[in-house]
């Protein structure tokens, strides 16, 4: 088999030119983010007038249909409940660690709901809610935070990579998954997630550059929550915005209000559609806020004012969406009861599972290193088995 779907087969940058001309704007106008971040809901949850949403030609985002918005709200409520339940479980000593996305749930939910079944997601350690919103059993996700194993779900089954702890290394894997799909003629889109601090890493640069050069459909989704543990964004970059970095790679960038569920879903959906249709990457920066400390081991009072946290509380994504959907007549008391009942079920299952000691086989630590254990690992496995047997006797 020969294949020519590599750089050099199409004229470099032609996708950007074709896409921008289809909107009647220049490539620069298309690649640079809109003059203001895309926002559809005000802080109070009221729909803001279309002319104030930040959109302009080539940067227009239709509001998703009501069914999708209600599904997003349900995922928001469940996600918030999971965040808060896990936070409590850490305090009770049931979980080793939990990096909460409390306050960032609109980004989490949007990431999951914007993708099709055949698409891939590459989350970070803070993206638990994104993975469960895409259908992973919360108990499987918590396997790693409980300390049982590094990853508890099957990445191939869910098309979700193991949540990455190193920063932005996974963005290159996302490019590779998309590239493999493209070589086979499949239209898989890959959503690659990272935070604001991670954009300083070298692999962020390499991944965006590779994706643009190879013209693969990867949506880079940056949740800018203001801090990399303690270090504010101003120490990470002197760029006008993270979305502005896109044009340097020859791709389009956009900024969105990350606490506006409607705008997040609308912008991500369009990014996924464009990536799929035109086989090209895009960069979306969501402005959001981490309401809690980095993890339970962190003390956020050492680097930020409580006033700041209070201000962001007024822009809570869940409350805004609830107001919007109630105003729109999509969310009524019945739906609210059903959804909160579901969230409580998920939380109860988490509590029960995390208070039960898992059955673990220490010998499994040798079993997956290679497709078949080496002679050396067989020896070491036998040694541990012997130690365990003697401990049992003793």
């Amino acid at each position: 088999m020969t294949s020519d779907t590599a750089p050099g087969s199409t004229e470099q940058g032609s996708h950007i030119r074709d896409t921008s001309s289809s909107f009647g704007i220049t490539p620069e106008q298309y690649m640079l983010p809109a003059a203001q971040q895309i926002r559809m809901l005000g802080p109070d949850g009221r729909l803001i007038p279309e002319e104030e949403q930040g959109t302009s030609p080539g940067h227009e985002y239709p509001i998703p249909e009501d069914d999708a918005l209600l599904a997003a709200y349900e995922a928001l409520v469940v996600g918030r409940r999971v965040n808060d339940q896990n936070y409590a479980l850490v305090r009770q000593g049931r979980l080793a660690v939990y990096p909460s996305s409390h306050g960032q749930e609109a980004c989490q939910v949007g990431a999951a709901l914007a993708l099709g079944d055949g698409d891939w997601m590459f989350p970070t350690y803070r993206d638990t809610v994104a993975t469960i919103s895409r259908g992973v059993d919360p108990l499987e996700v918590m396997v790693s935070f409980r300390g049982d194993w590094h990853c508890g779900y099957d990445p191939l089954q869910y098309k979700i990579s193991a949540m990455s702890t190193p920063l932005t290394t996974q963005l290159l894997h996302a490019v590779g998954v998309a590239h493999a799909a493209k070589l086979r003629g499949e239209d898989t889109v890959v959503l690659a997630m990272c935070g604001d601090g991670a954009t300083s890493e070298g692999d962020f640069h390499e991944a965006l550059n590779f994706a643009a050069v190879f013209e693969v459909p990867v949506v880079f989704f940056v949740q800018n929550n203001g801090y990399a543990i303690s270090v504010p964004l101003s120490h990470q970059t002197a760029a006008p915005s993270l979305a502005h970095k896109a044009i340097g790679y020859g791709m389009a960038g956009e900024q969105v209000d990350g606490n506006d569920m409607v705008a997040v879903l609308a912008t991500l959906r369009r990014a996924v559609d464009l990536a799929r249709k035109n086989s090209m990457p895009l960069l979306l920066e969501a402005i959001t806020y981490r309401m809690q400390a980095h993890t339970n081991a962190d003390d956020d009072s050492r680097y930020r004012e409580s006033d700041e946290v209070e201000q962001w509380k007024q822009r809570d994504p869940l409350q805004r969406m609830r107001t919007f959907l109630t105003d729109r007549g999509v969310l009524d008391e019945n739906a609210e009861t059903r959804i909160s009942g579901k969230a409580e079920e998920v939380a109860a299952a988490l509590r029960l599972a995390m208070t039960t000691e898992p059955a673990m086989d220490p010998l499994e630590i040798f079993d997956h290193v290679y497709s078949a254990p080496t002679a050396q690992l067989r020896e070491q496995r036998a040694q541990l088995a012997d130690e365990l047997a003697r401990n049992q006797e003793g």
Binding site: S9, T169, V175
Partner: protein
């Protein structure tokens, strides 16, 4: 194993042994694997149009197209990371790191992800990929072009480390690496690239492919993985070596024979997995061992071999085990490298220092 198609190349190439370079054997191994299996793709810096700075990938783009063999942006972490993603999604990437020391930007990808993904995912995600690294010195290369970096990788669980020392092994072991379900770091001694041996690549192809078909796991039982080979029989001392140092060890064995000492030479071939049985067998036979490797000796593969002999073969020994390795210095400049690299004389000196009286 891959689906079989008749390889037109097989019919065209020579049916008998002829002088063949190490480079040609590697090139043929890749093109045979690509011919046989559509998921095999080759990429890296300058590997496409140019055919690689050492020409190891020469002609692959022309033959298989730009989707199967292509140049990437100049970024090694990107090459390794993208390869991992492709391996996650059904491909068998074979990537080239242009030189040993230029692979270092890729180390985070290799150590934190490529080596650990199978374990992290409880075996659900396997990464069948090959990282080719031209390594070692002896070619007059400037700084950053002559490192023997195998210990860094060998220290990382989850990677397999192969390094061929002969033209036949260059072909067979690269085929085996490409078919491995595990990530293989494939160290190519660059000083051997243009050495020639009389080899029938067509016969090797038939040998490899029929052996692979006979086994559900081609690596197990028939290949070089985890299998050292005695390349010269002897009775008085064992020279343990791999990659670029095997030929030096053979020359030293030749010289030792003139002094009436019979040296056995063991070519490890596969550093991970390691062939403890072959090591123990040769030490049991000769009772003496000298480990020969280009890499600096401190905390090296050579150190590991000595430790394993001590742990497993102590009672077979008639003498302390010696090492002849590079010095513990950054690789020297071209005009000084001859003083650094293990030489026949240095091996013979080590031989003299062994305990020969009971």
């Amino acid at each position: 194993m891959a689906t079989t198609t008749t390889t037109p190349a097989a019919a065209e190439t020579a049916t008998a042994a002829k002088p063949t370079t190490f480079a040609a054997a590697l090139n043929t191994a890749m093109s045979d694997a690509m011919e046989r299996e559509a998921s095999v793709c080759v990429f890296g810096e300058d590997v496409g149009t140019l055919g690689g700075v050492f020409r190891i990938t020469d002609g692959l783009t022309q033959r298989f197209g730009k989707g199967r063999c292509f140049d990437t942006p100049l970024a090694e972490s990107g090459i390794a990371g993208m390869a991992m993603g492709m391996a996650m999604n059904g491909m068998r990437p074979v990537i080239e790191m242009q030189f040993d020391a230029f692979a270092y930007p890729a180390l985070e990808q290799i150590f934190s992800h490529i080596a650990k993904t199978a374990n992290r995912s409880r075996g659900r995600v396997r990464l069948p990929m090959v990282i080719r690294i031209p390594y070692g010195g002896g070619v007059g290369g400037v700084e950053h072009h002559c490192d023997s970096s195998e210990a860094y990788y060998a220290h990382t669980p989850g990677l397999k480390i192969y390094t061929p020392a002969t033209v036949s092994d260059a072909y067979l072991m690269l085929r085996e690496a490409i078919d491995s379900p595990d990530p293989v770091v494939f160290f190519e001694p660059k000083k051997l690239y243009w050495t020639k041996e009389s080899v029938d690549l067509s016969a090797l192809r038939t040998q490899y492919e029929s052996a692979a078909e006979d086994s559900t796991t081609p690596a197990a039982g028939v290949g070089a993985e985890g299998r050292a080979v005695v390349v010269r029989e002897g009775t008085d001392v064992s020279f343990i070596s791999y990659g670029p140092s095997v030929s030096t060890a053979l020359k030293a064995a030749e010289a030792a024979a003139e002094d009436g000492i019979s040296a056995e030479v063991l070519d490890l071939r596969s550093i991970v997995p390691f062939d403890d049985a072959a090591l123990a067998a040769t030490v049991a036979k000769t009772g003496r061992a000298i480990v020969i490797a280009e890499a600096q000796g401190f905390v090296s593969v050579a150190s590991e071999i000595v430790a394993r002999i001590q742990e497993r073969s102590f009672h077979s020994l008639s003498s302390p085990v010696k090492r002849v390795t590079g010095f513990d210095i950054p690789y020297p400049s071209p005009k000084l490298e001859e003083h650094h690299l293990p030489s026949v004389d240095r091996i013979l000196d080590a031989l003299d220092e062994l305990q020969w009286e009971d």
